[in-house]
Symmetry: C2
């Protein structure tokens, strides 16, 4: 590929990012009472910056099934709430202890730890409130399925479980299978939710979901390998955060286990494989294909 | 009142507590992988100890409408997930910095801060997963209403918003109206959810909910005044946690603003008022009445 694919993704991603920022701005007006600081911290964490890859994935998958833009936006907003809350908590001193994120101070540095913990907790609630609201979809069955899928993707059998494994990685030497499982949970579960969500809204039968599941799993792993490569070779200014942290902490990653060259090969292989899973779709899946390419070519 | 009411509440509360422990035990089997520590921390925080007042309130209100015990138990379990997660996060060094809770070490002391943050986050997800599951109620509309109500009660317009006000209370001198608002959010919102949840499941019309709302609001405030009195006069061994902390932190409470005697009077008045709101109900509301009495008479 593909300046073409990169340009397609970037144009759509920046449209999505603007929509997400606008929606957060509308959802989080500052109250004129002592809770003001909490809302300021939620807004600080949620608005501006970020690739908004997850809302983009939701929209790209919703495009396959002619799902309304409003529904896709609200589902994307809910996933982004979970993603942002997890970043706020993961950046805390007790967790990854990061000072910079998305090119600005982390939330606990810009505010304080207590406010950051609460702001993360509130974004966590907001995700489910958004999904459960009838503005997301008229059918309560669809909404309740979305809530279930997101709670699973974010909890101990998903993202948070992966984060726990990541904490344990400092005290253990994980092999490739365990690192793969860790990343399938830590970043893969939420990425898979983005694609599953569209399948839920479209009321797709299980056999129709198989290819999409495969796509999601493959781009999730490719995304993480690319992240590991950026952690070793990337530019911290472009990344907007500290790099080289996994190696310093003695954690095994795809790059430490495979080496840079084989890791890059593996990412390319996963991207090819992810696109093969979309063979049943025509041009309507071109954005999903372009996102797969973009995921391993991005510089942040 | 009422040794009689106290005995009724205690018998029912200990039955509820046993059911809740058993349900958490079944929901949280220990996995044989590096996420084990996370589940251990979730179990440590969730199982054993605690008055289980909120699940008891759910059951007592569900009794009014012949709602199934299974449904009432699962809704109570979800509220308790939120309550426990909030205790785990509130006890963190960056928040209230407590070492003891329910007579044992707080979760971050028994494990570590990172694990405690994640365990709280996972219990937070679990609450919504439980409510959204069809085992809670066959009607998805009811489930989605429960999710919405719990997300609101727990987020920035509810419990977490109250906790933010509580943090700000150290730097400000709140008046009685502001302390009332703080507590209406911090403990009242979740207590109100317990009663609202039964009304949601019973599909009660808004006019039928008015008395129950009044009951919930009054016992919520009475509960907090009793808590403030225990903080001043209680036995830390019975309480299972450190006391006297609000005064040491210079925070205004109902007791600091009203004095012990007037605070006690106000609690008694709220209890009487809460029972008056139940005038439309007969003997089927006796447990709710007994809970109101118990709330101000408890020693922990």
């Amino acid at each position: 590929m593909a300046g073409g694919a990169g340009a397609l993704v970037k144009a759509r991603a920046s449209a999505v990012a603007a929509e997400i920022d606008k929606a957060f701005d509308r959802l989080l007006p500052l109250p004129d009472d002592p809770r003001r600081r909490l809302y300021e911290a939620m807004r600080y964490a949620a608005i501006g910056g970020g690739k908004r890859l997850r809302p983009l994935l939701v929209q790209a998958t919703c495009d396959l099934f002619n799902i309304s833009r409003d529904c896709a936006l609200r589902v994307g907003l809910a996933v982004e709430c979970i993603h942002v809350y997890s970043l706020v908590h993961d950046d805390l001193p007790a967790m990854d202890d990061d000072d910079m994120r998305r090119g600005k101070l982390t939330t606990h540095k810009a505010f304080d730890e207590a406010t950051a913990i609460l702001a993360g907790d509130c974004l966590h609630d907001l995700a489910f409130e958004i999904l459960a609201n009838e503005e997301t979809h008229p059918d309560p069955f669809v909404r309740v399925e979305l809530v279930t899928a997101l709670a699973r993707a974010s909890g101990p059998a998903g993202m948070a479980g992966g984060q726990m494994m990541d904490l344990e990685a400092e005290n253990a030497r994980f092999d490739l299978a365990t690192v793969t499982r860790l990343q399938t949970l830590k970043t893969g579960a939420l990425i898979s939710f983005c694609i599953d969500a569209a399948a839920i809204v479209a009321r797709l039968a299980p056999e129709g979901r198989r290819g999409l599941h495969g796509y999601a799993r493959d781009i999730g792993l490719a995304f993480q390998i690319a992240d590991d490569l950026l952690d070793v070779e990337g530019d911290p200014v472009l990344a907007g955060k500290a790099l080289g942290k996994d190696m310093a902490a003695g954690k095994e990653t795809f790059v430490s286990l495979l080496g840079v060259d084989r890791a890059r090969e593996q990412a390319a292989l996963l991207v090819a494989q992810s696109k093969a899973h979309l063979h049943g779709f025509g041009a309507e899946a071109d954005l999903l294909r372009a996102i797969a390419d973009y995921i391993v070519e991005r510089d942040r």
